[in-house]
């Protein structure tokens, strides 16, 4: 599956994440900051719940009429001279884009950050066609020059790297001689990338929101890279997941307001750009040719199911920024470009349970994600539904859970065995217990205690304690 990152098993990936102490610190810090900024931005509005309700209503209506709005969008793009390609699979999308690029005899391509092009694995296809592909979002650029290190956060892709590591990558891969100061690193990237924009043949972007009524696409950045990617090369190709659409400018505005606040706590990011077709006659900058590629790649199969609401997502990562599990294991552990709670719901739907059956279990079902979501996707409910589907329909519960449940099933099957088991627990666990904590547990406890301690079983069972307490009550 193209959206897959890394090769190790889920457990190995987690282990790697948990032992990367810089990454864990960086993730915790970033979560804290982004979460606080989001809450402040919401508080400043005063009626955030109304905004969320509106966001949800818009997204639900749009999904329920998705065929209509995509029809309208494509008509309007074509009216303005743009070409539209509907791609049911990643392969179809990549093939079309490669054909356009080859026909243009393009050698250099600049890209602005796009999750969907990561999902369909576009870059290798273009590179195989002999093109140099340059990511222009600073975070994506850092990852790209570091031998295509995968992104670990939807909004801040290079979050897992510290500035010293970035400096070393710049020194190894670019002609960089300065320090690890972020300003110096960014300035160097500015100069290098400026030349790339000016000499590229094709610019490729993602799409935050397409606008059906006008055939426009909306791009949201702080760096302004999407603007140069679309203003300078002669050909522009925009790739969008088919659900990333709104009816009119009025809804685009509301969702952008929700997106920028939820993602980074800003009222608006520095650059929100709405592009309609190629440049008009008599204009100097902007592309001569515009292609919009609308990608299904498994999304239609989600429509009409109990998971439909996941397509409401506007990719703000607010859920990622509050997730206690993401905080500890980091983005790479999810094995998908979509990490955090949204990734745990979406990856199994797009990539299948064979690869992603563990992800719905990478959650405490604490519902912080659901509460944070600006378009009210019931994320923790959907995670729970996945677990039900995995167990009931697929019979594919992860092995560790299967064993634990089997053991519990045996132990709890008769009250005599259960009583014996709970009575024996303190002494059975004794060899593993230090100061009333188990830090190196056996069997099913192993996975848990590798990460943290587990309280040792009480010397007195709850049943006994309750029994004694009741006796005590009678006495008084």
């Amino acid at each position: 599956m193209a959206m897959k990152i890394g090769t190790g098993e889920f457990k190995e990936r987690i282990e790697k994440g948990i032992h990367n102490s810089f990454m864990r610190g960086a993730v915790a810090g970033a979560q804290e900051r982004l979460r606080t900024r989001r809450l402040e931005a919401a508080k400043e509005l005063g009626n955030w719940e109304e905004w969320r309700a509106l966001g949800e209503e818009i997204r639900k209506h749009t999904l329920e009429n998705l065929d209509y709005y995509l029809w309208q969008l494509s008509e309007n793009v074509a009216k303005r001279g743009g070409h539209v390609f509907f791609a049911q699979t990643a392969e179809e999308a990549n093939e079309y884009i490669r054909d356009v690029v080859v026909k243009k005899n393009a050698k250099k391509i600049v890209k602005s950050k796009s999750m969907v092009t990561e999902e369909i694995h576009l870059n290798p296809v273009l590179e195989a066609a002999g093109c140099e592909v340059i990511e222009t979002d600073l975070g994506e650029y850092i990852l790209q020059i570091d031998d295509h290190d995968p992104p670990s956060h939807i909004v801040a892709p290079a979050l897992h790297k510290n500035k010293e590591q970035i400096r070393d990558v710049f020194k190894a891969k670019l002609d960089y001689k300065k320090t690890e100061k972020p300003e110096e690193l960014a300035l160097h990237a500015r100069h290098t990338l400026r030349q790339a924009y000016l000499t590229a043949d094709v610019g490729i972007t993602g799409c935050n929101f397409a606008i059906a009524e006008s055939g426009s696409i909306t791009l949201v950045t702080n760096e302004g890279n999407a603007d140069l990617v679309t203003a300078l090369p002669k050909t522009q190709i925009t790739v969008m997941g088919m659900e990333r659409i709104v009816p009119t400018f009025e809804e685009m505005e509301v969702l952008v307001s929700l997106l920028t606040r939820s993602a980074v706590g800003q009222k608006l990011t520095s650059y929100i750009t709405v592009l309609t077709g190629p440049r008009n006659q008599g204009e100097v900058d902007g592309p001569e040719e515009f292609h919009l590629v609308i990608v299904d790649n498994g999304r239609a199969n989600i429509l009409g199911t109990e998971f439909q609401s996941v397509l409401q997502c506007i990719r703000c990562a607010a859920c990622v920024n509050v997730c206690p599990v993401y905080r500890h294991i980091g983005g790479h552990s999810y094995g998908s470009i979509y990490s955090g709670p949204i990734g745990a719901v979406l990856s199994p739907l797009l990539g299948g349970y064979d690869d992603y059956k563990e992800l719905p279990y990478a959650s405490t079902l604490c519902a912080a994600c659901t509460e944070a979501c600006p378009v009210k996707i019931p994320l923790h409910d959907l995670l729970h539904k996945h677990r039900q589907a995995i167990v009931e329909r697929e019979g594919k519960a992860p092995i560790s859970e299967r064993l634990a449940m089997k053991a519990f099933g045996l132990g709890a099957a008769s009250s005599a065995i259960y009583k014996l088991g709970s009575k024996m627990a303190p002494s059975a666990m004794n060899p593993f217990t230090v100061n009333n904590r188990i830090s190196n547990g056996p069997g099913p406890l192993k996975a848990w205690t590798e990460i943290r301690e587990f309280p040792a079983p009480g010397k007195e069972r709850f049943r006994d304690w309750f029994h004694n307490r009741q006796k005590g009550d009678h006495q008084s």
Partner: protein, 240 residues
């Protein structure tokens, strides 16, 4: 304009309709009246003066300098701001408002006489505009609509109003007539939506620009000035 080509639409949309459990729709869908409209309560009842104050206060949060002036003083103010950024080369839109606001002598006489290169966007010389903008120290445009809540200038592109004037130069100056200030993005969106409803052609590029370019991609440290301008100033013209 030649219409573009649409590939593989029918099967794609039919699949969607089928999954939604109904026939495909190409007409007959109207937007519902949304139950909540919180966007209209932002700065409700604010006077134009109130909006100016809100706009200024937001600018302090987006690394953008604000200068207030009048039409009479605009040329002098602009000259000062550009000097503060280290002078030319300067690139501007070809926009009748520069003449209306009395800036022609500055652009065409004063600055050239002081050996400050000025390039006014000129579509007929094509690519040379971009070469000039790329080397320019300051890019200057007017704001078409201005958003108080977010501190945003909205730019509508056209033949004379090149997209890259606000992106390629080292620094960016936007002239903001007070009358262009509205509460928030909502009002700008409605303005554009109405144009579309009337069948008018909207600009090929609409920029909502909020301060200079920035990034927090390295250890969440904010770096101001990444791909676009490193610094930005808004000049509010109080009497227009």
């Amino acid at each position: 304009m030649t219409a573009g080509i649409i590939h593989h639409r029918d099967k794609f949309l039919q699949t969607i309709a089928k999954k939604l459990g109904r026939e495909q729709r190409t007409t007959g869908v109207t937007r519902p009246r949304w139950k909540h409209l919180p966007q209209w309560s932002v700065f409700k009842g604010y006077s134009q003066e109130d909006l100016v104050e809100a706009f200024k206060s937001q600018c302090s949060r987006i690394h953008t300098d604000v200068v207030e002036t009048t039409t009479d003083q605009l040329a002098a103010t602009l000259k000062q701001v550009v000097a503060g950024y280290g002078g030319g080369p300067v690139v501007t839109w070809d926009d009748p408002r520069f003449a209306e606001y009395g800036l022609s002598p500055l652009l065409h006489e004063e600055w050239p006489s002081e050996k400050i290169d000025v390039h006014v966007w000129n579509a007929s010389i094509g690519q040379k505009n971009i070469e000039f903008a790329e080397k320019a120290n300051v890019g200057i445009t007017f704001s078409d609509i201005t958003l108080a809540e977010s501190g945003t200038v909205v730019l509508f592109s056209s033949g004379g109003k090149g997209r890259t004037v606000s992106f390629l130069p080292q620094t960016y100056v936007a002239i903001v007539p007070k009358s262009t200030i509205v509460p928030r993005m909502t009002q700008a969106a409605v303005f554009i939506h109405k144009q579309i409803e009337k069948g008018e052609q909207i600009p090929s590029c609409i920029n909502f620009i909020t301060g200079p370019s920035n990034s927090a991609d390295i250890e969440m440290n904010l770096v101001v000035g990444v791909h676009g301008p490193i610094k930005a100033t808004y000049i509010i013209v109080k009497d227009r």
